[in-house]
Symmetry: D2
């Protein structure tokens, strides 16, 4: 259920509704919007009786949520969520470019790359310290040592750090060292990890599972939000299909589909989806054009020596070209997107 | 095999090579390029002996083709193919917008739509007279009567007509009335129809099968070309996946993949792939951004009354918005694409 | 709509209903069953008024069909359809083994194979004279010469001939020479060919498209039946998925799914689906176990020299083993299947 | 690398090789077979020098493993692995039926079900105490209380308990209370959990991810084995495809494919793959017929009241029918399978 407050409801009135919800043994999720605050209720096992809440001062109405998800939906929060970290944001007016190395391999490789990311005016740096690898015998990342390098990158370049947590102990560390906690595609339905991420106080970047439906993807985000962390960024990274000219099939139709039903920002990953450098720039442009809020891209100073996913990493010059192109396209879309959202049914 | 002529080879020298190929009971496919002409050889059952050709005057070298396709590949023709019909072109500098009605339902509906297409400066009009329908009980199109309406549209608006041929008798009619012969996704491996299209003297727009690999798609184009019709336009229209938020999953990664190995132009169909109006504009933009040479889009004066695929048809105002957005993006990509092609390996 | 006759309705009463339907400009499809005859009506563009039919003598009731398909469904004909050709049948008590060569390559190869098929007591022989090939440069079959060889096989071994028609001219020939007309997976939505097959007076074996849903598959069969040919055998031959350990993924769950909604027999093709000999026997057994009515299998006297799909052809000894195993399993299933059909909702 | 011992090698000689491997900082995995013992080596980062091992007494040869997996492959252990728990086994001569409830809901429901499983002579009981659920608001299982009920089932009926561990804390409990630790499809690439399972001293039943390739599946098993737990049972439970007549598409072709390259036993799950009761019996039969070593099936005393996946649970009478049918088929396959393995290349 969803308690919608009147547009002029006071903080005190909102507080009183939250208290009443919690007194009933339920969990209250307050979502302030431009015009009104709505409060989602979770923790119930059956239907909720609305009578204890509907007559409280400041309450406009109690709405039964018919979707399987409650907190990710636009019913609860019609305005789009903007994730803000210092002066950087995802989901706002600026197209967010999260660039960096697939795996942190060394201080030198990481800093060389960060310098270019910073030079291009990007605000986020990605780099993997814990790498989920298909084979137990493949390079698994530098672990905490990698996180320290990333932390030093932040100090030096003022870049926000995005890095993956592959399990709970890793998440503890990532939460300490990084700015955004990434949950990878193979963990999209690792529900314990999602719950732990929901208890973190930092934004979570959640990648779509490689065969996840839109509902499963949103419910994975719901796991995080139901624990009280409402700062979730969705990421489309390609799905598994029969197509063999690409590693995964980047499903750009997901972007408008998500925007219709969820307030969460959504970005794309053209690097891991295609697995091939020459497709990364065209699909980055396509991602900006389709209306994504940003992208996640791999670059490398010398990809032929990369320990992980070298063939997909852009060279520095390619990266610079890409950033320029993507920004021009995002600028075109930015104004248009709002118009369209209004017009289309 | 492939006979590459010297850059200064005369028409006479080229003619003599073709004669020698035909004298050997084989078929010669001459592909003139900016710098040199190459002549593809088909019709052989085993390997071809190059000795009768390699010493003819004007021949630079004889190259064995290792791919399963010969005529669609860039080995034979490194320059991109541009399809020209009067003053209109596909694959050239201008992004081609082929807009119109899914099915020709009436003269009024068709002319209303054509007026808008023409007003926006688009040069191609699409409309189905023969509709391949999943159910035998669904509206199957107006047939020749529909073709006549389309022909009148051309006369009135100077729009080039693109329409589907669903079988050989339909192709005979389409060849007579239209400018571009469309082969639909369900017929991508209707090899008899492909061969018949290869004997036509008008360009063929070939849609990818809904579960076709890139190799199968190119080999379907090869069927057409091997009969002597080299004017083929490829069209990505979505593939079948588990995803249920979209009718088909538009596979934009195919566009750069095709451009690497084939000289043929490739366009996208955002209408049939998504099946939903609200996704058509975002994916049209994405198609322009990924580097497609054009798109095929459905519009309708009153989609709620359409006999076929109404929910995917853009309203006229949406169409106008879309055209403006797509052109801005295509302009950005157009110059960039060439740079990238050079840089990326 | 569906006119259900009373159980004691006379031929004259049935004839009168058919006349009334045709007089209304519609098409009548009479389906006699064990207890009652039902008459399907097609050819209508909107809803049909039942009043002219419901009061005719012998009519029990008029039923509106809610499914998109009418003639393939169990609403019209609850009893399972059995296809009978001389003493052979598909869909009856005996598990039908349709064995033979992928492509007829020579009289010797075909007769060697037919001798083994006959020796094992199988009643159907398969062999391709018209081969739909992905590449225009691959062996396309012997054509009419191949059909003549097959016809001689029938004369010598009393085997019923199953062979593919790839287009209308081929269908004309196949109808003349063969006993069962096969429509291949790539032509499952070649609607002109389906209609032509519907006008043939011989049974049609229809293969599922490689990405066809169950509804699309049934509607393809409906195309054939709506033209008046009710002898359709469905064939599951594997669908396209991401899995790369098999050529296609044999979808055995389709068999019970089809049996719930359609009266048509369904067989499986373990050869083309797997593409690898070592999987053919296990999946043949699985097909018999899941309740299929038969299978279609490739064998070859010397597969290493086969012109088409050699790696999937069983050796003769393997074929004999397979037949024995499959028959033992089919015998177990045969009785059980009926029990289950009754029990399960 | 793989050190193959001579057929008469003594335990002492084997021990000396293991010592030498460990002295080199590597990990030794000894796999005794019928004729010879092979010792897999993991823990290396680059290629291993075989010279320190090849001349040790009892060593026949050192073999470089070319596959990405080492311990799951038949190169290391040609004999099939049989998992033994008391008098029960999986992978041996008897077809293993692991039957029970999807979720342990109550002592009564669990004991009612266990009584039937025991009555039918099955040796394994399944029941979920920790349920991975797509929605955070769905019933998540009884946790340790459920494990205690399962433990009591074992005491009463002498059934071996198979139950899922969804995270590390759950695995600690499952290892204590159960006989077989199940890792679910959503955790197939939860590498931390796989490693933890590899440190357990009880067999692990590993379900295939819903979009996992055969190589990814085997490498997931390799993660478990590389930690020293060699008792892994693989389980095919359906993959995600476009097909909408079934929840997942059961990929039975995986069974013969796995048996060719791995020594591990493989079973199937007809309940979760189809999601519909009426398909469970046909696909159970198909699983036995294709050569699987067993199956995992849901039953329920009153499925309409089940808290989880009721529509897929067999009724008790259906279960009894299924067991009888499956055993008849498995008996046919059992002898045949060995013959085929020898014949087919």
């Amino acid at each position: 259920m969803l308690v919608v407050m009147k547009s002029g409801a006071t903080d005190q009135e909102i507080g009183r509704v939250i208290e009443a919800i919690e007194a009933a043994g339920l969990k209250a999720h307050s979502m302030p919007g431009a015009n009104r605050t709505a409060i989602g209720i979770t923790g119930n096992t059956g239907a909720i009786d609305s009578s204890p809440f509907s007559d409280l001062p400041g309450v406009a109405e109690c709405v039964r949520v018919t979707k399987p998800y409650k907190l990710v939906g636009r019913e609860l929060k019609p305005e789009r969520t903007v994730i803000r970290i210092g002066d950087a944001e995802i989901g706002g007016d600026e197209f967010a470019i999260i660039a960096g190395v697939c795996a942190v391999e060394s201080r030198e490789q990481t800093f060389l790359t960060a310098a270019v990311v910073s030079e291009m005016g990007c605000k986020f740096f990605r780099g993997g310290a814990f790498k989920p690898r298909t084979s137990p015998y493949a390079f698994q990342g530098l672990g905490e040592e990698g996180l320290k390098i990333l932390s030093d990158v932040r100090d030096q370049y003022d870049l926000k750090i995005v890095t993956e947590a592959t399990d709970e102990p890793a998440l503890d560390l990532v939460e300490r060292y990084a700015d955004v906690i990434q949950i990878g595609t193979r963990n999209m339905q690792n529900f314990s990890l999602l719950k732990r991420a929901g208890q973190a106080r930092k934004p979570v970047l959640l990648k779509r599972g490689m065969a996840a439906t839109i509902e499963e993807f949103l419910l994975a985000a719901e796991y995080i939000m139901s624990e009280g962390n409402y700062q979730v960024i969705l990421c489309e990274r390609g799905v598994r299909t029969f197509a063999n000219h690409t590693r995964f099939t980047l499903d750009l139709s997901l972007v408008p589909a998500i925007k219709r039903i969820s307030h969460l920002p959504i970005i794309i990953d053209p690097s891991h989806s295609t697995g091939k450098r020459e497709k990364v720039i065209p699909l980055s442009r396509a991602g900006a054009a389709v209306g994504a809020d940003g992208l996640l891209v791999d670059i490398h100073p010398y990809p032929e020596r990369a320990l992980c996913d070298g063939p997909q990493a852009l060279l520095f010059d390619q990266f610079k070209d890409m950033v320029a192109q993507v920004r021009s396209i995002a600028a075109i879309v930015s104004g248009e997107e709002k118009k369209i959202t209004k017009q289309t049914k």
